[in-house]
Symmetry: D2
Subunit: 264 residues, 4 copies
């Protein structure tokens, strides 16, 4: 089973970039499933709307993972419970709305997608390590499992990947908006990439207008972050997973921007 | 001018890996200068000793940058002032021992190396943005300038790189111990890589024994971190800089481990 | 010289409580100057408006100190430069609008009021220790000096107080919204209280509706904090300062609420 | 039932101060139970030893609560499981050694003591709110219950107190080492004090040598904290609890130092 995962889609720039490249990526790589992180997909880079989620699903996306920006648009509380393919971090305290595990039925078999969030320098969520144990116990007849681990630090990301090595097909990090170059398959068969990176403005700071972010660093005064304009980038990862064993067989990074343009 | 920078050398594993690959890297790439980050080079991964610094210089290293672990070995206070090629972050409050800018005279010209540290989720140092302005003003007859920006977050790293674009040859991040795949040359000529990654144990969490780090995450009890054993990795970056203008002309990541082995 | 300082006024509740008790406090204590912290005085507890500042000055307040919420109301940028008695933390990077030191001419002499902010668990401001040195050097013909140190941790507050002991008349902490009971005069004559506490809703969490704050702690989901309703409290401190030497001669806490009611 | 709780005993200074005042406090107040926080009782202010715990029990202490410094002395792992009256925070992940709830049988009835730790700006422990629910459910035939809430922020402390109002006799904060002046009995009968303060060196920063702590703030270089010398202070709180209902009937702060000396 081939899974294409694309990192944090930021604002209209990210959405347009996704819709531009998705047909080409499908044509070239023929993925069985496409997962995107959508926590920054709204126009201002904060959260996601129902309309945007539908747009993604309409374009062939199979599941949308989220993160610390899940709840930024208030309307999410109105529709997240209706949409099982919107996947919010599983380690919010019990009772949080929305799904955090989804089982996607594909022609090739079933793909389980799990979202988890780190705690270091982030919210005081429940322990992601114990939570993943709990979730993995509850999943019957496993097959391929993809974990989007939305976390700040490389140490928490590596720790989680080693913790579940051999028990899931892949741990792909999100949240830092910068793709890492450490893709590998761990000894027991779990593919790992610390962060898949973002999709959206290329000449920006994490997708945001750089002058505004710089003003913040220089003055420590409040600023209003805006999604940047101009040329864009796409960052993703391609995973090949054995359907029977759930073991990863390949992991390949995808980076598309003016410095590393796409050639079909 | 060609500069080879190698990321955080961790413990004996990192030092051995450096000494194994350095001759081959020199042979293949013919760098004019070699800079390594040495903040984790001591046996326990904390700080650096005089002996290790000498060993690095003896092997052909031209400058050693440091970071938040600079002061971990108490003996550093005894020798850092004697060693101008040991470069600690410049934005410690005035009066801190040691140099934070070094001008290396090479056959090709002069290379200036600056160390700076981020503040987000780190120590309360002086503003790295204003500090870099101050340092750049004080450097006369510029030529190539390399900044090692030792920081936790991708946002602070990107912000600093954009801030100095066109004023330094390269901003290379360190500290997260994971190489990023976002190398590029910014519009005004500054090469940028969010993090160059570490050199040391490959099957580890940031170089440390993974079982111990996992125990920490799972129990929240204190543990004694130890440098991991077993196979190793090397992460570095190669920069080509125009000696006259100081503008970067090329940036190439180097990653060596069992999944991406070195072929000469 | 007798100075009455009243802690963080929160919302309409805090403003009403201030206007209720201020005449009585003046009658009883006959202060020469009245300073209030106004960073939470706006209706929603975030920042201050020009109208509220004028209301305070009209009621006999001589100076309004601020803190991390200084900039919450955008209109502050329009009027802070016109109002020298609005005092924002001095250790924002140079160039921030507004005054951070004010010299109030009273019948008894001149009172200097300084605002500083801590860094631990707060913004990355400039070092408050070096900043206070700088400010104290620049003040000529000293006399009484009051420092409002807006900080989170008791360690940073105690450290600053010891650092300036004998150089200012008083260091009074703000920001935690809870009055501490550690008032004292340090050996060289500086009065110190870790935190003066807040003025506003008594049955609340730091002035905010408690159910909402609890929801935040329990669910980790975003909530909209609101200033609480119901009965209120006032927290302040009274300082007696020798006008010639600037040395503190007395420090007395004031706490008014239903459990410790006011008797004239 | 009358309970005397004394805040974080720091080093030898704190231990000596405790042994000096305990007989006098017993004589004057006739407490039925004495609880002390012992997380800083070791000579260097970090953790506690078996010998010190025994010394406290020998002097008439009925229970010793702990906090984030629980595990600082490695020997704690050898004896904490043998000593049910040493009470570590209950919200460490399941499996942590030691007791976190103790039921003390006194002539007046049974006193339950619970230790909990906050998470804001502290370790990533389990949710203290859900943990306290769980503990309170498991306690049968309640009677007086004292909660030591070891936390950094006033907001988390107030939140927990409101959360358990009417379900426990008292929530007494520890950890900041500064006594607050906000003692009260909440509407449903729970006594509350944000922080009881520390016992140990008076001319210090949280009990530590002030020059060393100041050096840390000023230079950001590592220092070796030492318990301060010189005169000392004691901070405590006295609680009167209805044995049948568990409702608090009185709360009185105790502060003893050279500025507020003790008179029998
Ligand atoms: Fe994101
Ligand atoms: Fe995120
Ligand atoms: Fe490092
Ligand atoms: Fe580091
Ligand atoms: Fe405030
Ligand atoms: Fe504040
Ligand atoms: Fe303590
Ligand atoms: Fe503590």
């Amino acid at each position: 089973m081939r899974v294409l995962m694309i990192g944090d889609i930021v604002g209209e720039s990210g959405r347009t970039t996704l819709s531009t490249y998705l047909p080409r990526l499908k044509r070239t790589y023929q993925p069985d499933a496409i997962i995107v992180n959508g926590e920054n997909a709204a126009d201002d880079g904060r959260g996601i709307t129902r309309g945007i989620a539908r747009e993604f699903f309409g374009a062939g996306v199979d599941g949308i993972t989220l993160g610390n920006h899940t709840w930024d648009k208030r309307e999410i509380f109105d529709f997240i419970d209706d949409e099982p393919r919107l996947i919010r971090p599983a380690n919010y305290p019990e009772g949080a709305p929305g799904a955090s595990v989804v089982r996607l039925t594909l022609s090739q078999g079933t793909l389980t997608v799990i979202s988890l969030m780190g705690r270091t320098f982030m919210n005081n969520l429940d322990c992601p390590f114990r939570k993943v144990d709990e979730l993995l116990t509850s999943i019957k007849g496993k097959g391929p499992i993809l974990v989007d681990f939305h976390a700040e630090t490389t140490s928490e990301k590596q720790a989680l990947a080693w913790y579940v090595d051999g028990r899931v097909s892949a741990v792909i990090g999100t949240h830092t908006h910068v793709q890492t170059g450490d893709e590998r398959i761990l000894p027991n068969g779990t593919a790992f990439l610390s962060d898949v990176g973002m999709t959206g403005p290329y000449d920006s700071i994490l997708g945001m207008e750089k002058e505004v972010v710089l003003k913040r660093f220089l003055t420590q005064l409040p600023v209003r972050f805006e999604v940047a304009r101009g040329r864009s980038q796409l960052n993703g990862v391609l995973l090949d997973i054995n359907v029977t064993s759930g073991i990863a067989q390949g992991i390949k990074r995808i980076r598309i921007d003016d410095d590393q343009p796409w050639f079909e």
